[in-house]
């Protein structure tokens, strides 16, 4: 037992779910993440679960501060998402949610690249059912695009691992760095899952199409698994700094004009990943602490935000900003929890985001990344603007849409309340939180200049929002589709494939025409020779035969006579 990955507890445990019913099933679902959590805290640092497969030595379980930190937060997220989805009778979602979380945990504790790859693919395949489970045409198509990209990331990872193994003879998942074609392919595989700029659109495409509860699971695992993998394999890779900075900045423009509020959250998820990627790229101990602390805090507040928007979708039936507003009257608790999540993602002092983001900002500043720091500040202001204000404002306040509904179900409120408590807990007790970070770096979060600077940044962002809103400059929420990188494969590539298909069909028709003509002529020729009236097979009347025999006999007689 001691050498079992906590991920396997969830994956194997999920197999029993289809056989359980009612209350028992609910208790079992909640207990499963708790058992896995107890198992995790009982594990000692070090490697375990070694086995030899096809001559390769694999390590199923590598426990250190980095993997444990992600293990804790993945299990917390799984626990919260399970409670949030307890009202569901849909076994497919329960099983795929658990297997997905288990896959992500398995990957985090993988000590070698092959084990990592296997669990990497488990997360891809298990998670797509959370999208399909929405059972709509759009969800089916988005799910198919999602699984193609996810498996593609796995293929890049596997190709990279094979090249790396051939070059070095090692499968260990330690620091890799961009040093060879193999490690570059692995980097790209991680990059797709981390939603690097231009490789990102699967995230904004698929997450908002998943079920109410599925999106909560999705928001926690895939991308943060990639962040873990980058922190493990590519810490201090300079290239990650500009990549991360670009990631923080560009999605917020889309977030401002997006109407589907869960898609707004997907864009802001992408932006938050950028902060982590910058932290990994800067690579100092403080920066890495900041990156993984941010991943930890982010998983919880992002889940909270998706839970609150999911509750709105569940009760109202739509999540379009243009159709919502005034819901604080019907769903006051959901509104409060949403604002806690919004304050956390915006990094208000005393909320979790502030603790984590301060570390990344300070690290970037300390290492002299002026432009990166300015972009991160711009992005921080932008996050508050689109996630911190826009989400609660358009859903719960703005103009009253006249929609009235019941408050979210009790299980959803419990999950949101727990997440909110964690968000505030981390913000209020940062020292306790910082003790589980990988490196021991003394860092004072609540200094006067940090707090005042951040409050100025946030309040003046809100001021800009208030002024733009009251002067009517702020772009209204409009029902729309905004073109992103996915346009290239959903439209351009599709139109090329269609054009190629049409060209192929035309060529086929032309060739078939030629072949048909030739075949027709051949048939005509054969028919001439062998048909009913053909020269060869024509039936001759008996009289003609008698005539010719008579003629031959006559001729013979004449010849003999002469």
């Amino acid at each position: 037992m001691a050498e079992v990955s906590p991920g396997l507890i969830l994956i194997v445990g999920a197999l029993l779910v289809p056989f359980l019913r009612g209350r028992l099933c609910q208790v079992y679902l909640v207990a499963l993440s708790m058992v896995a959590f107890l198992h995790l805290i009982s594990l000692e640092n070090g490697a375990g679960g070694q086995m030899s497969v096809l001559g390769l030595s694999l390590t199923m379980l590598r426990v250190d501060k980095l993997s444990s930190l992600f293990g804790y937060v993945f299990l917390i997220a799984c626990f919260l998402a399970t409670i949030y989805s307890l009202h569901l009778r849909d076994k497919i979602q329960h099983v795929s949610g658990l297997v997905y979380a288990g896959g992500a945990l398995g990957a985090v504790f993988a000590g070698d690249l092959v084990t990592l790859f296997i669990f990497w693919e488990v997360t891809a395949i298990a998670s797509v059912f959370l999208i399909f489970a929405a059972r709509s045409h759009q969800a089916y198509r988005a799910g198919m695009r999602y699984i193609l990209v996810q498996v593609g990331s796995g293929v890049l990872l596997l190709s990279g691992v094979l090249l790396h193994y051939r070059a070095t003879g090692s499968l260990a998942f330690e620091h890799l760095g961009l040093v060879s074609p193999g490690t570059t392919l692995i980097f790209l595989g991680f990059g797709i899952k981390a939603a690097f700029p231009l490789l990102h659109s699967w995230l904004e495409d698929a997450y908002p199409e998943a079920t109410v509860t599925g999106t909560v699971f999705l928001s926690a695992f895939s991308t943060k698994l990639a962040i873990y993998a980058l922190a493990r394999g590519y810490a201090g890779t300079e290239l990650l700094v500009p990549i991360g900075a670009a990631m923080t900045a560009f999605p917020i423009f889309y977030a401002v004009i997006e109407n589907d509020l869960r898609r707004v959250l997907a864009y802001s998820l992408n932006n938050q990943l950028g902060f982590m990627v910058v932290g990994i790229g800067v690579g100092t101990e403080l920066a890495l602490n900041g990156a993984v602390a941010h991943a930890f805090a982010h998983i919880i507040y992002k889940a909270l935000l998706f839970m609150s928007m999911g509750a709105v979708l569940y009760r109202v039936g739509t999540i379009k900003g243009s159709e919502l507003g005034g819901l604080y009257k019907s769903m006051p608790w959901t509104a409060v929890f949403c604002m806690v999540g919004a304050a956390s993602i915006s990094a208000f002092p005393l909320f979790s985001g502030f603790v984590a983001k301060s570390m990344i900002m300070s690290a970037a500043m300390k290492e002299g990344y002026l432009w990166t720091w300015l972009i991160l500040m711009f992005a921080s202001a932008g996050v508050f603007h689109h996630a911190g204000i826009k989400i609660p404002y358009f859903a719960f306040f703005a103009h009253d849409s006249g929609k009235r509904c019941a408050e979210a179900p009790a299980n959803m409120l419990v999950a949101m309340a727990l997440a909110a408590v964690l968000c505030i807990g981390i913000g209020v007790l940062p020292l306790w939180f910082m003790s589980i970070l990988p490196f021991e770096v003394p860092y004072a979060v609540y200094t006067l200049d940090h707090v005042v600077g951040q409050m100025q940044l946030l309040l003046f962002s809100a001021l800009a929002f208030a002024i733009l809103m009251r002067t009517g400059i702020y772009p209204p929420e409009l029902p729309s589709t905004n073109l992103d990188v996915d346009w290239f494969y959903r439209r351009l590539l599709l139109s090329w494939v269609n054009a190629a298909g049409r060209a192929y069909a035309a060529a086929f028709d032309a060739l078939a025409g030629i072949a048909k003509g030739a075949l027709g002529r051949l048939i005509g020729l054969l028919r001439d020779q062998y048909g009913p009236d053909g020269r060869v097979t024509r039936t001759q009347p008996a009289g003609a035969m008698v005539f010719w025999i008579t003629a031959l006999l006559g001729a013979a007689l004449i010849v003999n006579f002469i």
Binding site: Y254, I257, A381, G402, Q456, S461, R491
Partner: protein
Amino acid sequence: MTPKPDEKKYWLDDRRNVDRLVYGFYVVCAVIFAIDVFVPKHGPFAIEHLFGFYGWYGFVSCVALVLMAKVLRRMVMRGEDYYDG
């Protein structure tokens, strides 16, 4: 789903209360901006030491963000069923 005509009036339903909130917020902004005088800054970047840097940087950022997003919308916005057609 629709409000009843005799529904309870909320405090925020009164436009004047919203205005009061907003004006109160302006005052808070002014105060937090002025506090800058008393805050010692330690960072290595000269720009951070400008008076009220975080305040005006946040304000300018957000206005620029929104104005640029409006331009972006003109380029990328399509009908809601764009991909379903």
